[in-house]
Amino acid sequence: MKLNFDALIIGAGPAGLGAALSLKENGIDDILIVDREDSPGGILLQCIHNGFGLHRFKEELTGPEYAERDINLVRERNIDILLNTCALDIISEENHKTVVLLSEDKGLLRAKAKVVILAMGCRERNRGNIAIPGARPAGILTAGFAQKMMNMLGHPPGNEIVILGSGDIGLIMARRLSWEGARVKAVIEAQAYPGGLNRNIVQCLHDFDIPLYLSHTISNILGAKRIESVEVAPLDHGVPAKPEGRFSLACDTLLLSVGLIPENELSLKAGVILDPATRGAVVDANLMTSVEGIFACGNVLQVHDLADNVSEEAACCGKSAARYLVGERVKKREIPLKTGNLVRYVLPACAEVGKEVIVSFRPISPAQNVTLVIKTDTEELLRKKERKIFPSIMHRINLKQIPENAAYLEVSFVSEEK
C-alpha cells in the first residue's frame, strides 16, 4: 500500500469528507482519509432524524442522507478512504508529518503526509464529567450512545426515561423514544434556558407533553442493579434546594445530554495548542493549528449546531490546506481576534490584514434586542441588530477584507439603549 500523501485526513464524518472534496476541487489529488469505523459518514449515520442540509442543499435531509451525498462525491472523485483504522500519533518531521495508524486489515502503518487535517469530531460529556452523586447502577448512558443503540443496533435503552440536560441530542432522543412507545418523564436542565434549539423544544418536547425543568438538577441516583429513580432538585443560583424542596422521579433509564467536547487527545500528542473556551485547536484564519502543516475543522475544532456549518468550515479548511500545499505560505501581518461584551469565544484566534476571514462565535447567555458589533481599534466593520441571541446558535460572519491598519478585531453584542 502507498504510504505517502499530500494530505491525510483523520475522520470520515462531514468534516473529513468535506475537507477531502475541497482539497480535490482545489487541485490536490493525493489524499487519504482514515476512519476508525467500518463505514464513512461519522455520527451522521446515527442521526436518523430530519433537519440536515437546509442551508447547503435547500432541502431537509436525514443524517444518513446528508452523509451519503458526501460519500458518493468522495467515491466519484476516487478519493481513498481507509476504514477500520485508528490514528495513534502524529509526529512532525522536517518536511512532512508521520501519522501512525492502526488498521484492522493492514496492521500498524506509518503514513507520511505533507498536510494533516484533524476532523475527529467530538464526544459526549458523561456522568464523570458532571459528577452526579448517588448509586452506580446500570441504565445511565449518554444520549448519543442511546441514539447509536436504537438507530444503529436496534436496541431501545429502556421504558421509563429521564433525560438530564436539554442539549439537542437529548431532545431528539426524547422524541425518538416517545415514538417507540417509551415514556419520557422529564428533561432536567441546570441552566435557566434550554441548551438545544427552539425547534427541538417544540417538536421533541411540546409535541409529547414532556415537562422541561429549567434551573433544576439531579441530586441523587437510586437503584441497586438497575437505576430505579432520580432525585430532582431545583437550583437557586446554582445551589440545589434543601431536601424538602426536592422530588423523586421513578425511571429505568437516565440519559445524559450535557454537552460535547472536541476529541483532541491526538491533537495534543501532536503538540497542538488548544483554546480553553472551545476546547478545540487555536487556529489562524486558514484554520491551521499552532503546528505548521496541521489543520483542523468540524467538531474537533469547535462544536457546531449544524452539519451544514461543519461542511462549510471543512470546505474552507480544504481550500487553505490546498493553498498551503502549493506553496502559498507568505502571510501578511496578523492581528488577534478578541471577545467583547456577551461573547463566549471567537474563532479563529487571528486574521490577516487585507484578507478575508470567516469569524465564528457564540454568545455567553441568551439576550434580546442587542446589536452585533464587529470593529477594529479604529473603525466599525459590521453593525447588525439581533432580535434574539442564544448560546445554542453559533454565528458565522464572513468579513471580506480586514483593514490594513487594524491592530485587532473585536466581536461584541451591545445592548440597545432606549
Binding site: S39, L54, M152, L153, W179, R199
Partner: protein, 120 residues
C-alpha cells in the same frame, strides 16, 4: 384567537404570534421569512411532521435501516407509523429513496429508506 408558536422550519426557531379565527389565519407576527406564515397556518389547522424511524434489514452489514416519510404527515399519525415500521423487515440491498411502505396508513405519503446498504 391568539396563539404563540415557535416555527420549526429552520434552526432560528422564530417566535410567532398568530391571530386566527375558526377558518383562517388573520395575522402572523415575529416570522423572519415567508415559511413562518405557512408554518403557522399548517400548525394551527393541520399540524404535520416528517416521521423518521427504523425497520429491520436482513443480509446487510447493519441490522436496522433508517427510514422516513417522504413528506410530512398528520402529527397524530406519527406513533402509528412508527409502530407499522417496527413490524417490517426488508432484504438488502436497499438504496436511499427506495419505497419501504407505499402510501403508509393511507396518508398518500410513502415511507422511504434514508440510507443505502449493500448486501453483506
Amino acid at each position: 384567537m391568539k396563539k404563540e408558536l415557535i416555527c420549526i422550519n429552520c434552526p432560528m426557531g422564530c417566535s410567532l404570534e398568530v391571530t386566527y379565527d375558526a377558518e383562517k389565519i388573520i395575522e402572523v407576527k415575529g416570522n423572519d421569512c415567508a415559511r413562518g406564515k405557512d408554518y403557522a397556518a399548517k400548525e394551527i389547522f393541520h399540524p404535520e411532521r416528517i416521521v423518521t424511524t427504523t425497520v429491520c434489514v436482513k443480509g446487510a452489514p447493519i441490522v436496522v435501516l433508517p427510514v422516513k416519510t417522504e413528506k410530512s404527515v398528520p402529527k397524530g399519525l406519527a406513533f402509528k407509523i412508527v409502530q407499522a415500521a417496527s413490524k417490517i423487515t426488508v432484504n438488502a440491498p436497499v438504496k436511499a429513496g427506495d419505497v419501504i411502505i407505499r402510501n403508509v396508513l393511507g396518508t398518500g405519503v410513502n415511507l422511504i429508506a434514508s440510507r443505502t446498504v449493500e448486501r453483506d
